[in-house]
């Protein structure tokens, strides 16, 4: 009785739908491109049953790395948004709110404009400054009076984001002739050398996702308010700090790989909550991972093929896919 049949059925349906969408997007991502490769051939290539040749090379060396990257980043951003919205009890929370997006944008801009010779350091710059921005936010929000409070975190985040935003603008003004190179990063795009990036950054995804898993139950307690969470043996400020670290790690690593895709972290958790009809984190966090991965992978398929052979930034395409779905659900949900 405690969990009615319809509730379980609805949640399962959303999980299955997200999984199907993800598989479809992954299939399309591997099969569709400048050269269309039949799905059966793709599967043969994945399982090592395809002889060496151009098709095998396209699937394994070009499309598979980008697809894996899209899945990892999409899942990371979906989870980062879900964890932050839960921890801050605020529907507008996303990695933007804790300064990560502005910090990563500044880090990338700094490398691209001031050190164009060291462009290989771009992901590192984005990661480091994303984490630095979040660390500054936490340091401000977790000291002084009312430390660890929701308003404290959000206001500190907005202020620090403004600071890094101003620094980014300053850099662009200082190097106006090189600004072109920043546009792709700001719009978000999957990199061609994804294996190398993933090799360096996979631990951040693993740590962030594992932390999110541990946070599921504490976040459910926190949803009932700080006092109830405390009654249930949790420390609300500690949960918020853990959630902030989790989101900062995931979103910074995501920004390092694909640039700024903040929309995903904001919208995906709302999508799954509206579709699943529950805010329970045991559903919202895994469902956000699946839906985020599906949305980014599908967006990438569009970005690569709409104006082929030119690869467009994935950010706008993901928005084009996600916004209509989001608005449709928004109107249906009471």
């Amino acid at each position: 009785m405690a969990l009615t049949v319809t509730t379980v059925a609805r949640r399962s349906a959303v999980i299955v739908a997200a999984l199907v969408a993800l598989l479809a997007a992954v299939g399309a991502s591997l099969a569709i491109g400048a050269v269309d490769i039949p799905l059966a051939t793709v599967i043969d290539a994945l399982f090592g049953d395809l002889a060496d040749g151009p098709e095998r090379k396209i699937v394994m060396d070009i499309r598979l790395p980008t697809t894996v990257e899209a899945v990892a980043v999409g899942a990371a951003l979906g989870v980062a948004g879900a964890v932050l919205q839960g921890a801050l009890a605020n529907p507008l929370a996303s990695p933007d709110v804790i300064g990560v997006t502005a910090g990563a944008g500044f880090g990338a801009t700094l490398i691209l404009l001031a050190f164009p010779g060291s462009v290989a350091l771009l992901p590192v710059g984005a990661l480091v400054f994303g984490l630095v921005a979040a660390a500054v936010v936490f340091a401000i929000a977790w000291t002084g009076r009312n430390r660890g409070g929701v308003t404290q975190v959000i206001l500190a985040g907005i202020a620090v984001a403004a600071l890094f935003g101003a620094a980014t603008t300053g850099l662009m003004t200082a190097f106006p002739d090189r600004v072109q190179s920043v546009v792709f990063f700001m719009a978000g795009g999957l990199t061609p050398n994804a294996w190398i990036d993933l090799e360096s950054f996979w631990p951040y995804f693993v740590v962030g996702l594992a932390l999110a898993l541990v946070l599921i139950r504490p976040l459910d307690r926190l949803a009932l308010g700080d006092d109830v969470a405390a009654s249930l043996g949790s420390r609300p400020q500690l949960i918020r700090l853990g959630a902030g670290i989790c989101a900062a790690v995931l979103a910074s690593a995501a920004a390092a790989l694909v640039g700024l895709l903040s929309f995903l972290g904001l919208v995906v958790p709302h999508l799954v909550r509206m579709a699943g009809g529950t805010s329970s984190h045991s559903f919202v966090i895994p469902a956000s991972a699946l839906a985020g991965a599906a949305l980014l992978t599908a967006g990438d398929v569009l970005a690569r093929n709409v104006a082929a052979p030119t690869v467009l930034p994935v950010g706008p395409f993901m928005v084009v896919l996600g916004v209509p779905l989001f608005l449709w659900l928004l109107r249906r949900t009471a």
Binding site: R217, D220, A223, D226, L232, R235, T278
Partner: protein
Amino acid sequence: MTVASGHEPALDARDVYVRLGGAPILHGASLRVDRGQLVALVGPNGAGKSTFARAAAGILRPARGEVRCMGHDVRRTRGRRLARLRAFVPQRPRVPEGITVAEAVRIGRSPHLRPLARATRRDRDAVERALERTGTARFAHRRLTTLSGGELQRVQIAIALAQEAPLLLADEPTSQLDLGATVSVARLLRNLAEEGLAVLLVVHDLALAAALADEVVVMSDGRTVASGEPREVLAPDRLREVWKVEARLDADEAGHTALRVDWLGAARELEGELR
């Protein structure tokens, strides 16, 4: 660490001092609650009742003094262990969107689960019992955002009962409720005490406190100033001294209580005229 024995009070708070934001809020507050006893904590606004209840629950850290729940020092007992010793029902709980009554009460059971572990049959039974006991089972599938104030308060108590702690602290659970809902929550708390739970109830309504409580503890200006049997403690002299009103508590053996208040100051004027 002391191990709880059968004779120890469920809650024993001694000479508690609390500072909030640098300001002293409590200076010398003490009380004890035994198993099967309902103790009402009363006092004027700003006397420190809620702060004392939160310190007694281990949610606020006292600057001085000692609080023991079931024999355990709350400052040394953290997390899920403390949550299995006492449950706290806050005054203004958050009402999250997209959470049903059943989900909320299941969250109340979470101190009994190891991290990442799934609920067992025992946990599910405890949740079921908490829902039944509070009369919330019949709307267990509804979302918290659709409930009335009285229903919400019963859900809060259900969340606390799912913790299966021997001590329940409730901070003004009836302050926002109409008469009928107040009576229903009051009876529930009284019955829980009859069944062996130790209950500390922070309450404004002195007539309600007198009807419900085995013992009343009066707070004034950050201190506990009196405790004992309700009719003795809430005598006219004390009501005048602590609340600055002329009032008399009427109570009969059947459990009816009323507070006769000189609302408009007529008695004092009359007194003046007679003089």
